[in-house]
């Protein structure tokens, strides 16, 4: 099984460490070897930092990519935002020599160079392609019977012309990954609607962001979902942090935490105390 440089990002390690812990445990159980991407920074965030300065965004992303290149490993991310930034930056730098040269002028100041070879993958994609649904099922020791809402988020699949993970309008990958645990992914209206947090909306126009979230929550409730399962700590934060105010109480789990549960990790090890919307298993 392949080995990956584990990119932590910001929200998982600094707000929901249970997501980081579950990812480490689950990957170990599934034979996916993770090596910390030491010294990495924020990806940096695609909707805010890139919107402020694309030059900064690309150079800082290239530094992260160069750290992995030095280790000779592809990157594994557990966040759609990190995946969006690092994948997009790697793609641009692999296809534009002039841009790569410009970025290397900046990296020269810190004695680094990026050759343009790092590959970037999302945790969910790695489990699906490398371990496979049958391989995952073989490691489930505590089958689940919940009805859940699969929440894909945006940057896991889009822009699909460069990512190519799954159909961006009608994907199946996360539903299949969820159902490998025995849980049932419930159909619902507007399944691909954004959580609302991205693009700096949460920070600058939180009320607008919450309107997106509220539509999602209403559709999830109507579907009979008992849990929301996401693949992005930022979507996770948006759903977890706004429900009380919006009058909902559907607990939120990252896919790694759902797998942790299904593989027998204790509730304590999932770090659920950091969740704002209470999770009662």
């Amino acid at each position: 099984m392949a080995k990956y440089a584990f990119f932590l990002g910001c929200i998982a390690p600094l707000r929901y460490p249970g997501i980081e812990k579950s990812t480490r445990e689950v990957c170990a159980a599934l034979g996916v070897e993770l090596v910390d991407l030491q010294d990495a920074s924020c990806c940096p965030a695609p909707g805010v930092i890139r919107a402020f300065s694309k030059k900064t965004w690309l150079a800082a992303a290239a530094r992260n990519l160069a750290l992995a290149e030095k280790q000779g490993l592809p990157i594994l991310t557990i966040c759609n935002g990190c995946y969006g930034s690092l994948f997009d930056a790697a793609h641009e730098l692999a296809h534009d020599e002039k841009l790569l040269a410009e970025v290397n002028e900046v990296l020269k100041e810190i004695g680094m160079e990026y050759k343009g070879t790092t590959k970037v993958y999302h945790f969910a994609e790695v489990l699906y392609r490398e371990v496979g649904i049958e391989g995952i099922k073989a490691k489930i020791t505590n089958p689940l019977s919940y009805q859940v809402a699969a929440f894909y988020g945006c940057h896991f699949l889009k822009p699909s012309n460069i990512k190519g993970v799954d159909d961006p309008e009608d994907p199946k990958i996360l539903d299949e990954l969820i159902e490998a645990t025995g849980a049932k992914s419930m159909p619902r209206k507007q399944k691909m609607l954004c959580c609302g947090a991205g693009g700096g909306l949460k920070a600058a126009f939180g009320d607008v962001a919450k309107k997106f979230t509220e539509t999602n929550l209403e559709n999830m409730k109507e579907s009979g979902a008992q849990y929301i399962i996401d693949v992005c700590p930022f979507c996770h934060l948006q759903f977890d942090g706004t429900q009380k105010e919006l009058g909902y109480s559907i607990p939120v789990l990252h896919l790694s935490q759902l797998y942790g549960l299904a593989m027998g990790m204790s509730a304590d090890d999932l770090g659920l105390s950091a969740h704002i919307t209470p999770v009662t298993l």
């Binding site: 929200i11 600094l14 707000r15 460490p17 965030a45 919107a51 402020f52 150079a59 530094r63 997106f212």
Partner: protein, 164 residues
């Protein structure tokens, strides 16, 4: 009356949004935009304003910052216009001219201070330890040299300045 300003097209192109000229105003973007359903933001209109060179109207508008970068418009655009890239280019121009929301400045300052977009919190540090994780994540947060390297990148690319 709007006086077209072709110079702005060059500015947008330099910021990475050259393909705005490909937009033929069909409105598929606006029809599928989740933000447009909830705000006065209209993607098609923003693309047209960019084509016409309505710089001041764009960089002073709230709508420029109401896109959640969900890429629904990009997926559905029949001309494959990279709309999100264009919005990023327009936002870069706005920020360079001093248009930045306080909360966004806060996020940017976090990056400068921590190397991450959110601050370190004591209760989370305690939870990390309880989970058997290193109290400080093995990122720039635990290596001063790595953080200094990031700082140099932020300074060299003009980022530190926009947060002042």
């Amino acid at each position: 009356m709007v006086t077209p300003n072709p110079d702005f097209a060059k500015e947008i192109a330099a910021a990475g949004g050259e393909e705005v000229k490909m937009c033929f105003q069909c409105g598929t973007c606006t029809a599928g935009c989740p933000s447009g359903r909830r705000t006065s933001y209209r993607v098609r209109k923003l693309m047209r304003m960019a084509q016409l060179g309505m710089k001041e109207e764009i960089i002073n508008s709230e709508e420029l910052w109401e896109c959640s970068t969900c890429y629904t418009c990009v997926e559905r655009c029949p001309r494959q216009v990279p709309i999100v890239d264009i919005i990023i280019a327009l936002r870069n121009i706005a920020v360079a001219e001093g248009h930045m929301y306080d909360n966004h400045k806060g996020t940017a300052k976090n990056l400068v201070k921590y190397g991450h977009t959110v601050p370190v919190k004591d209760d989370i540090t305690a939870l990390r330890e309880k989970l058997g994780l290193p109290a400080v994540p093995p990122t720039v947060l635990s290596n001063d040299k790595a953080k200094a390297d990031l700082d140099k990148i932020l300074a060299a690319t003009g980022f530190t300045k926009i947060t002042e």
